[in-house]
């Protein structure tokens, strides 16, 4: 499968939904890429190359067709006739059309791979020899990017291309990741935390970072992306294997039915010639689905890529269709972006400015959007200037951690400070801190906290502890969430599809309940720690359910690995990206819902075309059997309910239909059948009507139509 270079490219689209502010579009369907007619033409050489029997052997249905085509060719050479050559020609076309379907599907991936490959040019890495994190001095050694090993440190400065995947260990930089995400706005990458991962092939726009390389050359993210979109590493998914088993056995049954027909025909004194028998086999075996099966799989992966999601395996895409439980992070998925600080509510006679000041102090080290919003609000309301790290010498910042769910600062007593400790965080956590430090929690605080929570807001309690004194509560910061538009309808659809949605939030149960009620989510996990999340996943899985989740932090890695579908955000850590089985390049958690739909659509397309293919057989029997045996048993002409012109025209029409239907269905295979979220029964009814009953009727009409055309050709009269 040497590459035919396709010049027509499908550009990587900009992300469907950019950022948290975009509302979830209501009532939208999974669409697919369009079939570019030029692509059909461009894929033709590839289709011919696939005629190699060794390639065909992977697909038993088409292998039988190819073997049959070879047989008829031999037969046509020996007993040449218009009919023989027509059948032979169309049989070869059947194989070719199947190859074409696959080549077209692959071609679209290839075009995308091409775009990616151009970003993957030879880079020179500036390796830091013998450097350890923390060292201030370093020696730069220039080596080719392909010679880097895991664990090497490289320095990348503004304008340079990052030579390989890795984690930033020192510095902050803005990085242009448009090569892989298609997103032109630069992103910030910095050491520590959840935004440390950088991808090889992306370009540093400003500043300078030191990166620890985490992948071997040739196994980088871009390399994997290329091989994924090209379909080189494509393995058959479980459902595809099962379907192949079914198709192979049906093929075997029909081959058997036709092979054993010949002795019966001999007994009936009407032995059939080889060409007709082969034509009957090809007409009966499920060629339509057999021809399109791999194209459907490739196109399914492709649809994900078009939505900027990289699935590490087809198995994951299939699992997405099976998901029973969706774990959705509240922030960014259910609510718009992040909670914003909306108010400072002091307790115990504390002045509101003092509360704001303490809140700001405790938030300086809190890089979360919530933390930032506290600083912003303090500035807006009380004009409290943001203090830089240098202004508080000796201050020890306590960063926010998922386990403690608090952040804060310990001011150094020596440097003019008072040894004062300030803490801010989830109500339960800060309460614990207060009591641990000898303080008492005023009832008033509880009232405020519950009030905010009940209103769907998030209370953050601020507390301080002067040296030698007991800790005391200062007040509450009111953080507000805004539920996305249309998300409620989305959850209703999910429910109809039989998927349970669970909101994951670090909020307290009251807050969580309020947001859950507002958004219509089925369930929620409040004050969730990564361990809770993990426990929830395991609990669901023990009941036989499949769980999907998104995540970005290193903390999420175990849960991402445990989940059946783990979608890592591209902005996340490399540990998270490694653990999940999909990466969303747009880092948009709402994508999970689309991924589920794409997974379902993939399976539905296979099922629908299988049904269609099998239903087709009825008409083909009625076309071919009277044609074959009408000579000896004129009564069988009564089965010729289509009133086909002559035996030759009948058989030829069936074979032409059989070949053309493949071409006709390529767009459907690539696009996927129309999918609208609904209950299983509604979906089944719809698909049975269209593809089952439609598949029963359509060939009658088409075969008759083809017959009306070819009856005028000499040799078929």
């Amino acid at each position: 499968m040497a590459g035919i270079r396709s010049r027509s490219r499908t550009p990587l689209p900009a992300s469907v939904q950019d950022g948290p502010a975009a509302p979830a579009a209501p009532a939208r369907r999974v669409g697919g890429g369009l079939l570019d007619p030029r692509l059909l033409w461009k894929s033709l050489p590839g289709a011919f190359q696939k005629l190699d029997p060794r390639v065909q052997l992977r697909n038993p249905v088409m292998f039988v067709v190819e073997a049959g085509s070879a047989l008829t060719t031999y037969s046509a050479v020996i007993h040449s006739s218009v009919f023989a050559w027509t059948i032979t020609g169309w049989l070869w076309l059947t194989v070719l059309f199947a190859n074409l379907a696959e080549a077209v599907a692959e071609g679209r991936g290839k075009a995308q791979a091409e775009t990616l490959r151009r970003t993957k040019r030879e880079t020179t890495a500036r390796k830091l020899a013998g450097w350890r994190p923390g060292d201030t001095a370093y020696r730069i050694e220039e080596v080719p990017g392909t010679r880097l090993a895991v664990g090497d440190f490289v320095i990348v400065e503004a304008g340079q291309v990052i030579p390989g995947d890795g984690d930033v260990v020192e510095g902050v930089a803005s990085v242009d990741e448009s090569a892989i995400t298609g997103e032109s706005a630069p992103v910030i990458r910095e050491s520590g935390g959840d935004r440390s991962a950088v991808t090889g092939g992306t370009r540093v726009l400003s500043d300078r970072v030191i990166v620890r390389i985490t992948s071997k050359p040739g196994e980088t993210f871009i390399d994997r992306m290329i091989s994924l979109v090209e379909g080189a590493s494509r393995q058959k998914t479980p459902n595809e294997v099962a379907l192949n088993v079914l198709l192979a056995s049906l093929t075997l049954i029909f081959v058997m039915a036709v092979v054993t027909l010949q002795p019966m025909a001999f007994y009936s004194k009407d032995p059939q010639n080889l060409i007709i028998l082969v034509a009957l086999v090809v007409a009966l075996i499920p060629t339509t689905i057999g021809a399109l099966l791999s194209a459907i799989g490739i196109a399914g992966m492709d649809r994900l890529v078009q939505r900027n999601v990289l699935a590490m395996s087809g198995r994951a895409v299939e699992a997405a269709g099976d998901v029973n439980t969706l774990l959705l992070d509240k922030t960014g998925t259910i609510t718009i972006g992040n909670r914003q600080a909306a108010d400072f509510l002091p307790v115990g006679g504390v002045r509101v400015e003092a509360l704001a000041d303490a809140a700001q102090l405790s938030s300086l080290a809190d890089e979360t959007p919530e933390g930032r919003s506290v600083v912003v609000l303090a500035k807006e309301r009380f004009n409290i200037r943001e203090r830089g790290a240098g202004e508080l010498p000796g201050a020890v910042f306590v960063p926010f951690a998922a386990q403690t769910r608090m952040s804060g600062v310990d001011l150094a007593p020596a440097a003019g400070g008072s040894g004062r400790q300030v803490r801010k965080g989830a109500a339960s956590a800060v309460r614990g801190w207060i009591t641990d430090n000898g303080g008492t929690v005023p009832d008033e605080l509880g009232v405020l906290v519950d009030g905010i929570s009940a209103a769907g807001g998030t209370p953050l309690v601020v507390a301080e502890r002067a040296p030698g004194a007991a800790a005391r509560a200062l007040g509450v910061i009111h953080l507000k969430d805004i539920v996305k538009q249309g998300i409620r309808e989305r959850f209703a659809e999910m429910r109809a599809m039989g998927i349970r949605t669970v909101m994951i939030t670090g909020d307290n149960p009251l807050t969580a309940r309020a947001i859950a009620a507002e958004s219509g989510v089925d369930d929620f996990l409040a004050e969730a720690t990564p361990e809770d999340k993990m426990a929830l996943i395991k609990r669901e899985q023990e009941g036989g359910k499949l769980v999907a989740m998104t995540g970005d932090g290193t903390n999420d890695a175990p849960a991402l690995a445990q989940a059946d579908v783990g979608v890592a955000m591209n902005t996340g850590t490399s540990a998270a990206k490694e653990a999940g089985n999909m990466v969303d390049l747009d880092s948009n958690p709402t994508k999970l819902i689309e991924i589920v739909e794409i997974g379902k659509q993939l399976l539905i397309t296979r099922g629908a075309l299988t049904t269609f293919s099998i239903a087709n057989d009825v008409a083909k029997y009625f076309a071919m059997l009277p044609a074959m045996f009408g000579g000896v048993f004129p009564g069988l002409e009564k089965l010729n309910i289509m009133r086909l012109h002559s035996p030759e025209s009948a058989i030829t029409s069936a074979i032409i239909f059989n070949a053309l239907i493949i071409i006709a269905l390529i767009p459907l295979a690539l696009r996927g059948v129309r999918y609208k979220p609904s209950s299983a029964s509604a979906m089944l009814a719809r698909n049975i009507w269209i593809y089952g009953v439609g598949g029963l009727i359509l060939p009658f009409v088409c075969i008759k139509g083809i017959d009306l055309i070819i009856m005028n050709i000499p040799g078929f009269r």
């Binding site: 479980p238 459902n239 099962a242 379907l243 088993v245 079914l246 056995s249 049906l250 075997l252 049954i253 058997m256 039915a257 054993t260 027909l261 019966m264 025909a265 001999f266 007994y267 009936s268 269709g321 099976d322 029973n324 429910r495 109809a496 599809m497 039989g498 998927i499 349970r500 023990e542 009941g543 036989g544 359910k545 499949l546 379902k600 399976l603 539905i604 099922g607 629908a608 299988t610 049904t611 099998i614 239903a615 057989d617 009825v618 000896v632 048993f633 009564g635 069988l636 009564k638 089965l639 999918y675 209950s679 299983a680 029964s681 979906m683 089944l684 009814a685 698909n687 593809y691 089952g692």
Partner: protein, 553 residues
């Protein structure tokens, strides 16, 4: 009352009787196999046979026990036939010739009961009783046991155990077949079926000539022949023989007997998997297709197409006056739909299309309702296929009753649907392709082709009914038929058990709104579609050259 109305009433009474038995019998059977208490007699029985009833077997071990039991059965029955002249009550019969003995042994052990012999002139009473009738019990028991093992695959979670074959077959016989047979036999005796040990003798007839008077322990064997869906007649004429089926009532009752277990098993299934709606769906599909076939046969026989039948003015060739068209058509539709294979009228002389419907009943795979156990496990295998196709169409990895149909499960289901057509088609093709087997054909032309296709369809689906014009007591048919019956029965059973094993290992997936509903008309329609199109269409070429070539003119 017109014949047609009487026929409809007869059918209505039958459906009503089956409906009345559906719940009590189905529930009873579920209890029989779910109970973990052994009766005291059973415990003694297990000790006697040296079996540990507590052992829970893996599917492979279950299958080996089943095969060992069946293998020993074939051997034992063969020997019994070969030495019958040394047995008491031999009625003067010579040892059964070896080829015929082999065919008969294979036939009765596989629940086919294809008969290449005439009972009254070949088999002594001891062989009939201690050989053939015993197999009538245990072969039906084996079918039910295998079904129950498969159902356990659906019921159980994360285990590789499917139950105990020895216990299942013992309970099937001791708690189910034997008690029902006792009741049924008494009813048949009252209706006039003979039961004696009087050897065949001559009496002076009314006009002074001599009349052969035959005897035998018929009633006790007749009942299990129908109840266990065996079909092997005590006499050559089978259920057409007045001593086996003396009256319209006995005829109705025998039809009832052959349908009662297969039609109640879906209830057992529903009960065992904890969802009675599943049982209702399967029984509705069975009922629908069975009624259709009975209706069609009746219609075609009323029309009596065919030159000879037209000349006679009615399709009474090969039928008995006391049963008439309705009683014969009902019997024919039921015996072929249940894999019983007993006949009360001779199918070879049926109208072309009436005979074709009987043939099609078997071609559908003996699943509507099929034989005891075998019918339901066959239907479940087809349901697995249906679920696979339907499940894909709702966008999930297909699952049936919470069990996923993955490549392993599909492999076994696919192997199952391959086995029967393979046996039927290859057997028919060889018989038609070789010159010697062709000589057995009685009716020339397409009807002869149908005779051979019918023979292998019957043997390959373990039915046992015949287009009896074909002279099959020949080396080829005895030998090939025996092989076909054994392969079709036991290969299929191995695949069923293997599927059960892989289902049992799975963790059940909870049902949700996104799960394909396997009850309700939509799934029923899809299942019928799969049965008719996927299974039935395989044989369309053969039907075209047989019945269609003969009947369309």
């Amino acid at each position: 009352m017109s014949g047609a109305v009487a026929g409809v009433l007869q059918l209505g009474l039958l459906v009503a009787a089956l409906a009345a038995c559906y719940r009590p019998l189905g529930d009873y059977m579920a209890r029989v196999f779910l109970s973990d208490r052994h009766w005291r007699v059973e415990r003694a029985w297990y000790r006697l046979a040296g079996i540990d009833p507590g052992a829970d077997q893996r599917w492979g071990s279950y299958a080996r026990s089943m095969l060992a039991f069946s293998g020993v059965s074939v051997l034992f029955l063969y020997l019994l036939e070969r030495v019958q002249n040394h047995l008491p009550y031999a009625n003067g019969m010579a040892p059964v010739p070896s080829f015929l003995a082999w065919n008969t042994a294979a036939s009765f052990v596989t629940n086919t009961n294809w008969q290449n012999y005439a009972g009254e002139s070949t088999m002594g009473y001891t062989v009939q009783m201690a050989g053939l009738a015993v197999q009538n019990f245990v072969s039906a028991g084996v079918g039910i046991a295998v079904l129950i093992a498969l159902v356990r695959g659906f019921m159980r979670n994360k285990t590789d155990r499917l139950g105990n074959f020895w216990v299942d077959i013992t309970r099937a016989v001791v708690r189910l077949l034997l008690p029902l047979s006792v009741i049924g036999a008494v009813i048949l005796m009252a209706a006039g079926v003979i039961d004696n040990f009087t050897p065949t003798h001559l009496i002076a007839a009314v006009t002074g000539g001599q009349q052969t008077m035959v005897g035998g322990p018929v009633a006790s064997q007749e009942v299990i022949k129908e109840l266990g869906n065996n079909g092997g007649g005590f006499f050559n004429a089978n259920s057409a023989h007045p001593f086996e089926n003396p009256s319209p009532f006995s005829n109705w009752f025998e039809i009832f007997l052959m349908l009662v277990i297969p039609f109640a098993l879906p209830r057992t299934f529903g009960k065992m998997v904890g969802d009675n709606r599943q049982g209702y769906l399967l029984v509705a599909v069975m009922l629908g297709l069975w009624l259709t076939s009975v209706g069609l046969i009746s219609l075609f026989e009323w029309q009596h197409a065919g030159t000879a039948l037209q000349a006679a003015g009615g399709a009474m060739e090969g039928k008995e006056v006391r049963f008439g068209i309705p009683g014969s058509a009902l019997f024919a539709g039921s015996t072929t739909a249940t894999s019983t294979g007993a006949v009360n009228s001779f199918l070879d002389s049926f109208t072309t299309f009436g005979g074709m419907v009987a043939l099609c009943n078997m071609m559908l795979g003996e699943v509507v309702p099929g034989g005891a156990g075998a019918g339901l496990y066959g239907l479940l295998m087809l349901a697995v296929l249906t679920v696979f196709i339907g499940g894909l169409m709702v966008g999930r990895t297909p699952e049936y009753l919470g069990k996923k149909i993955r490549p392993t499960e599909m492999k076994w289901a696919a192997a199952y649907i391959l086995a029967t057509p393979f046996c039927v088609l290859v057997g028919s093709a060889l018989s038609l392709g070789l010159s010697v087997p062709q000589r057995s054909i009685l009716n020339p032309g397409p009807h002869g082709l149908t005779e051979i296709v019918y023979a292998f369809t019957s043997m390959g689906n373990n039915n046992g009914s015949a287009f009896a014009g074909l002279a099959t007591n020949t080396g080829w048919y005895n030998l090939a038929g025996g092989v076909v019956m054994l392969v079709a029965r036991f290969a299929a059973m191995i695949f069923v058990l293997a599927l059960g094993g892989s289902l049992a290992r799975q963790q059940k997936v909870p049902e949700s709104a996104g799960t394909l509903k396997t009850h309700g008309p939509l799934f029923a329609g899809l299942l019928v579609g799969v049965i008719v199109i996927l299974v039935g269409l395989t044989y369309f070429p053969a039907l075209a050259l047989g019945p269609f070539a003969e009947g369309l003119r």
